[in-house]
C-alpha cells in the first residue's frame, strides 16, 4: 500500500475525524423495521379479504372453518371455493405486477414504464378478444372461438398464447436492435396494433360478447380456481425468484447499459432474463386476472419513496409485499363489504391508489427526491 493511501484509510478508521465506515444505514434501518410491519399488514388484509364481502363471515366461524369445526355450510363453501383462492390470487398477482413494473422501470430507466410496456397484455387482450368476440368469423377466428368452449381455461390459454406471441416478436427484434428505447417504442406500437385488432373485433360482435369482453378488461382476482392456482402460483414464484437473483445486475443497470457492461455484466443475458421474466409475470397475471393497471407502475415508486432507496436488494422484496398489500386492499374495497355489488377492480386500483401514491411522491419531492427510476 502506498503511503498516501494508508493515511486515507487510517482517517476512516478514526471515528473522530471522518464519517463512520457505514453502509447505506438509513435504508437498511427502515427496512429492518418496515418489512416485518408490512408483513403484519399483509396478514391482516389477507384475513379481512377473506372475511369481508357480500356475505361477511364472523371471525370465530373463520377459525372453526379452518380447524374443521361445526359451521354453516354456506360459509364453509364461500371460504373454500371463493374467498381463499381469491385472496391468494390477489397476493400473487399484486406482487407479480409490482415486480414486473420495477424490472421495466429499471431496464428502460423510465419512471413511466409499467409491466405492459412490452406489449404483453395487448397480445393477451387480442387472444382473449379472438376467443370471446370472433364467433362470427371464419378461419383462425373459428379456431380461437373453439377455445371459448373450454370456458375460463380457454380464455387464460388464449391470453397466454397472445402474450407469448408478443414476447417472441420482441425477443427476435431486440436481438437485432441494441437500443432499448427502440424496444420501448416497439412495445407501444404492438399495443396500438393490438388495440386496433380488438376494436375491429368489437365492431363485428354482438352485445353480449362485447359485455363479456369489457368485463374481462375490468380485471378480477376471483377467476382463479383451485385447479388453476398451482400453475398460477408456481409460474409467478419462478418470476419472483429470478427477479431476486437479478437484484445485483439491476443495480448496475441504474447507471445505464454502457457502465453495466464496463463492470463486466453480460448485458444480453440480463436483458433477455428481464424481458422473459417480466413477460411471464405480466402475461400470467393478465391471463388469469385480466389487464390490471396502475399497480405495476405505482408500487415501485411507492417503495422507493417509502424506503428511500434505489437498491434492488431492498426493492424486490418490498415490492412483493407492498404489491400484495395493495392488491388485497383494492380487492376488499371493490367487493363492497355487506353489499351484493362488485365494482371494477381496475377502477378501484386507480381511484384509491393514485391519491395515496401522489401523497407519498409529493412528500418525497419535498425532501428533494421525487419520482425517478
Amino acid at each position: 500500500m502506498k503511503p498516501g493511501e494508508s493515511c486515507v484509510r487510517e482517517r476512516f478508521r478514526n471515528p473522530a475525524t471522518g464519517p463512520a465506515p457505514a453502509t447505506c444505514t438509513e435504508s437498511f434501518r427502515k427496512v429492518s423495521l418496515g418489512i416485518p410491519l408490512a408483513l403484519c399488514i399483509l396478514g391482516v388484509l389477507f384475513a379481512l379479504d377473506i372475511v369481508l364481502g357480500s356475505v361477511n363471515i364472523p371471525l370465530d366461524s373463520l377459525f372453526a372453518i379452518i380447524t374443521g369445526g361445526e359451521v354453516k355450510d354456506t360459509w364453509a363453501t364461500i371460504f373454500w371455493v371463493w374467498r381463499l383462492p381469491k385472496a391468494i390470487t390477489a397476493v400473487f398477482a399484486g406482487a407479480a405486477l409490482a415486480l414486473s413494473g420495477l424490472l421495466m422501470q429499471t431496464f428502460f430507466r423510465n419512471p413511466l414504464a409499467d409491466p405492459y410496456i412490452l406489449g404483453i397484455s395487448s397480445g393477451a387482450s387480442v387472444g382473449v378478444a379472438l376467443v370471446m368476440l370472433s364467433s362470427g368469423l371464419a378461419g383462425i377466428g373459428a379456431v380461437f372461438a373453439g377455445l371459448g368452449f373450454l370456458g375460463d381455461v380457454g380464455i387464460s390459454f388464449a391470453a397466454m398464447l397472445g402474450s407469448l406471441a408478443v414476447l417472441l416478436l420482441i425477443l427476435v427484434i431486440s436481438a437485432k436492435i441494441q437500443s432499448n428505447v427502440t424496444i420501448l417504442v416497439l412495445g407501444i406500437m404492438v399495443s396500438y396494433i393490438s388495440g386496433a385488432i380488438v376494436t375491429i373485433l368489437l365492431q363485428f360482435s354482438d352485445e353480449s360478447s362485447m359485455h363479456t369482453y369489457s368485463f374481462w378488461t375490468f380485471g378480477s382476482f376471483s377467476g382463479v380456481t383451485w385447479g388453476q392456482l398451482p400453475l398460477f402460483a408456481v409460474l409467478l414464484t419462478v418470476g419472483f425468484v429470478v427477479s431476486f437473483l437479478l437484484a445485483k445486475p439491476l443495480n448496475v443497470l441504474l447507471l445505464g447499459e454502457q457502465y453495466a457492461v464496463s463492470m463486466g455484466m453480460d448485458y444480453n443475458k440480463v436483458k433477455n432474463t428481464i424481458m422473459v421474466s417480466t413477460a411471464v409475470m405480466a402475461g400470467v397475471v393478465t391471463a388469469f386476472c385480466g389487464p390490471i393497471g396502475f399497480l405495476g407502475i405505482a408500487v415501485p415508486h411507492f417503495c422507493r419513496s417509502l424506503f428511500v432507496t434505489a437498491d434492488h436488494r431492498i426493492l424486490v422484496p418490498t415490492c412483493v409485499i407492498v404489491g400484495g398489500i395493495i392488491a388485497l386492499a383494492t380487492d376488499i374495497i371493490s367487493h363492497l363489504p355487506g353489499m351484493d355489488l362488485v365494482l371494477p377492480l381496475n377502477a378501484i386500483t386507480a381511484l384509491f391508489g393514485a391519491p395515496v401514491v401522489i401523497w407519498v411522491i409529493v412528500r418525497g419531492t419535498r425532501f428533494g427526491r421525487g419520482v425517478t427510476t
Partner: protein
C-alpha cells in the same frame, strides 16, 4: 519507469466496418503505450476520431487490424469480469438516478468483486470509502447524487471508477460541462490518483491549455486521423498544435500555450511599465480591443502605468493629447473616444 506497460497497441487501425460501404478507416499505424502512474490526455478537434480510439482501446469496438494488448493479453481475450477488474471507465452520459447516495454509486464499482447478491464485505467498504476520500468527496458520502452539482457528481463517478480497482482508467471528456476551477480540480485529482496509486489514466478532453499543463504525455489526433504522441512542451515547441487544430482565422499562441482569439487590427501601442499584473492585463486589454505591440519605439498610442502613492494610474498619450485614467475601463473609454474624434492618426 521500468514497470511493464499497462496497455500497448501495435500497428493498430481503427474505424468502422459497414456491410454496404466496406471499411471506413479513421486512423492507422497506431503504436501506443500507456505506462503505470502516467496521465495521458487525448486531444484533437471534433470528428478526428478520439471516441473511436477510446472505444477501440477499451474493447467496446474491434480494431480493423492490429491489436490492443492489456496487461500482456489481447483485450478481446479478457473475460468480461477479468477486464472489469483491469479497466474502468468514466463516460460522458450523465447519471440521473434518484434515491442513490454517493456511497451507493461508488459501491456499484465493486460489481466485479462481489458475490451474486452484491454483498459488500468489510474490505469492500474500506475500498469504497478510500476511493471517495482520494477524490476529496468524503463530505458527500451520504448525500444524494441528484442533489449534487456537476463537479461533485464527476468526483463521485471518478471514485466509482477507482473503487473498481483497475490498473487502467479511461475517461471520456471528464472536464466537459464543468466550470474552469472544477476542470482544474478534476485534473488535479486525476493526476494525484495516477501518482499515488500507480494507475495509468487516459482521458480525452477539449481543454487544450489544461491538458498541456497537466498531462504527462499528450496524444494529438489531427483532422486526418494522424496521431502524434509526445511530452506537452515538446509538442508546443514543434508547432504541432497549430497544424492539428488550426482553423481559418484561429491560431495557436505558443508563448501562452493557448489558442488566440483573432484580432482585428486597429493600431499599435507602446506600453511603458514595470513587469506586474497590471502590465500583463493592460497588455491583454489593448490586444483585445485591436492594438498590437509596436515594432520599434513608435506606436499609435503610448500607455504608461504609474503608481501614485499606492494608487495605479494609466496615462494615455497620442500625438499631442494625453489623458489620465484610474482603471482599464476608463483607459479603453479614452482610446475609443480618441478613435471617434480622429485624434489617433
Amino acid at each position: 519507469m521500468n514497470s511493464p506497460a499497462v496497455l500497448t497497441c501495435k500497428d493498430l487501425t481503427i474505424g468502422y466496418r459497414n456491410q454496404k460501404t466496406g471499411m471506413k478507416e479513421v486512423s492507422k499505424n497506431l503504436n501506443l503505450l500507456l505506462n503505470p502512474g502516467e496521465l495521458v490526455c487525448l486531444v484533437g478537434p471534433n470528428g478526428s476520431g478520439k471516441s473511436t480510439l477510446i472505444r477501440t482501446l477499451t474493447g467496446i469496438q474491434p480494431p480493423l487490424s492490429g491489436e490492443v494488448v492489456l496487461l500482456g493479453k489481447k483485450i478481446a481475450d479478457h473475460g468480461p469480469e477479468e477486464k472489469a477488474k483491469t479497466l474502468s471507465v468514466v463516460l460522458t452520459t450523465p447519471v440521473e438516478t434518484g434515491f442513490m447516495t454517493a456511497f451507493d454509486i461508488v459501491a456499484l464499482g465493486r460489481f466485479p468483486h462481489t458475490n451474486w447478491a452484491g454483498r459488500l464485505t468489510e474490505d469492500d467498504n474500506e475500498v469504497i470509502l478510500s476511493a471517495i476520500a482520494s477524490v476529496g468527496a468524503s463530505d458527500l458520502t451520504h448525500r444524494f447524487i441528484h442533489e449534487m452539482s456537476d463537479g461533485e457528481r464527476q468526483k463521485v463517478m471518478i471514485a466509482r471508477a477507482l473503487a473498481q480497482e483497475p490498473v487502467l482508467m479511461v475517461l471520456d471528456e471528464p472536464t466537459a460541462f464543468l466550470d474552469l476551477p472544477h476542470k482544474i480540480e478534476t485534473m488535479r485529482i486525476l493526476r494525484s490518483v495516477a501518482r499515488s496509486t500507480g494507475k495509468a489514466i487516459l482521458l480525452s478532453t477539449h481543454d487544450l491549455n489544461l491538458a498541456i499543463r497537466c498531462a504527462d504525455r499528450l496524444w494529438i489526433i489531427d483532422r486526418h486521423g494522424t496521431l502524434i504522441s509526445g511530452i506537452p512542451e515538446d509538442l508546443v515547441i514543434s508547432g504541432i498544435f497549430g497544424s492539428a487544430f488550426g482553423i481559418h482565422g484561429v491560431s495557436f499562441d505558443p508563448v501562452r500555450g493557448e489558442f488566440a482569439i483573432p484580432i482585428e487590427k486597429k493600431g499599435t501601442f507602446v506600453l511603458e511599465a514595470q513587469k506586474s499584473v497590471e502590465q500583463i492585463w493592460t497588455w491583454y486589454a489593448l490586444e483585445r480591443i485591436g492594438y498590437l505591440p509596436a515594432e520599434g519605439g513608435m506606436g499609435d498610442i503610448t500607455v504608461t502605468i504609474r503608481n501614485d502613492g499606492g494608487k495605479t494610474m494609466w496615462e494615455i498619450r497620442t500625438g499631442a493629447v494625453a489623458e489620465e485614467c484610474a482603471s482599464i475601463a476608463e483607459l479603453i473609454e479614452s482610446i475609443s473616444a480618441f478613435d471617434r474624434r480622429g485624434d489617433l492618426y
